[in-house]
Amino acid sequence: MSKIGLITKGFIKENPTFVLVLGMCPTLATTTSAMNGLEMGLATMFVLILSNIFISLIAPLVPDKVHIPVYIVVIATFVTVLQLVMQAFVPDVYKTLGLFIPLIVVNCIVLGRAEAFANKNSVLDSALDGIGIGIGFTMSLTVIGIVREILGSGSVFGFKFIPGDGILAFVMAPGAFLVLGYLMVLFNKLARK
């Protein structure tokens, strides 16, 4: 597969949210607004790229029986690094996302890419895979966030264009499932062509 292909396959063909259906917890929980979705996507992408690089580096040295604990330690380390760095330099973003950052540790996408890709590919390929899947995840979360924010709050990225409160259910959990389901149908219908 070409280097460009490694990145772009994460956008549509192996889109983590709409095709692989991985990492649903942060997807449903953080996409109450477009901005939250975007920030969560970027935070996950950061961890994904670093953990992919590091795991592809150490993979040959890790005995099979302990690879899951090793990967989890590596991922948890990078998540904590991210948490400390965000707290120090972007406290406002940390304030809105704070609750969900530690959840990146158990995000299946990160462990899934480590298992399915990083441990048997080169460092460069793993980094590219992390970037691609990360961008795919970020785009998906942002799209879900945009739809939920329009329907639920009548605004996009905090910019209000419909007066009033919007349909409340879309800000809450049921709306997350509805939007995700319909977007998944739409995405797969368009992607199949």
């Binding site: 953080t30 109450t32 607004s33 939250n36 150490i58 993979a59 040959p60 040295l61 890790v62 005995p63 099979d64 029986k65 302990v66 690879h67 604990p69 090793v70 330690v73 590596v74 948890a76 380390t77 904590t80 690094v81 400390l84 760095v85 707290q87 120090a88 330099f89 406290p91 304030k95 809105t96 704070g98 609750l99 639920g152 709050s153 409160d165 409340l168 800000v171 809450m172």
Partner: protein
């Protein structure tokens, strides 16, 4: 090809990975320790500035207690040394966890302004307590019945977030009654 899964290899590998990760975390913790502390201190000063009338000289952090609840508060005095206002840090349990707000209270019990310090309310619903203009504006200069309208008070709750609004109102009410308790103490 992965290394063999015998005991020595597994122990060595886990130990090495944990050591490297712990070292990395140690470094990052040390590097970010001061910025995190500064950011928290800056947020605190900003929130105090927001809830107090301008121009007073601010006291050091003080602690007090009212009805078994401990408070951290700051006094702002005017040029002649009279207390102009209090900034009280008030903590209650909201819908999603602790809700900590800074409340500026004038000595006569009028709320000057409020500002959110810590909030883990539902994004898009309760979290609006720090962004919803109408909800935030009603605290400025508020003096009246500190309860949400549903409970017979004068506070307009955030749509669909009555629990958060109630918690917020309770935090303000606690701060106000705390200020009136220290006022009586001072006058005695």
């Amino acid at each position: 090809m992965a290394a063999k899964s015998n005991l020595t290899n597994m122990v060595l590998c886990l130990t090495a990975v944990c050591l490297v990760c712990a070292a990395l975390l140690g470094v990052i913790y040390t590097v970010t320790y001061e910025p995190i502390r500064d950011a928290a201190a800056k947020a605190l000063v900003e929130s105090i500035g927001k809830v107090l009338p301008e121009g007073g000289s601010l006291s050091e952090e003080m602690t007090g207690e009212n009805d078994g609840v401990a408070f951290i508060y700051y006094k702002s005095s005017d040029a002649s040394g009279n207390v102009a206002a209090y900034a009280v840090k008030s903590k209650v349990v909201g819908f999603g966890g602790p809700l900590t707000i800074m409340v500026g209270v004038l000595p006569d019990g009028t709320v000057y302004n409020t500002s959110v310090l810590e909030c883990s309310e539902t994004p898009g619903l309760g979290a609006k307590c720090s962004t919803d203009e109408a909800f935030m504006a009603q605290w400025r200069g508020f003096k009246g019945n500190l309860k949400v309208r549903k409970d017979g008070g004068d506070i307009d709750a955030i749509t669909a977030s009555t629990i958060t609004s109630r918690a917020y109102t309770l935090a303000v009410a606690n701060a106000v009654s705390f200020v009136s308790s220290i006022n009586t103490e001072d006058n005695e």
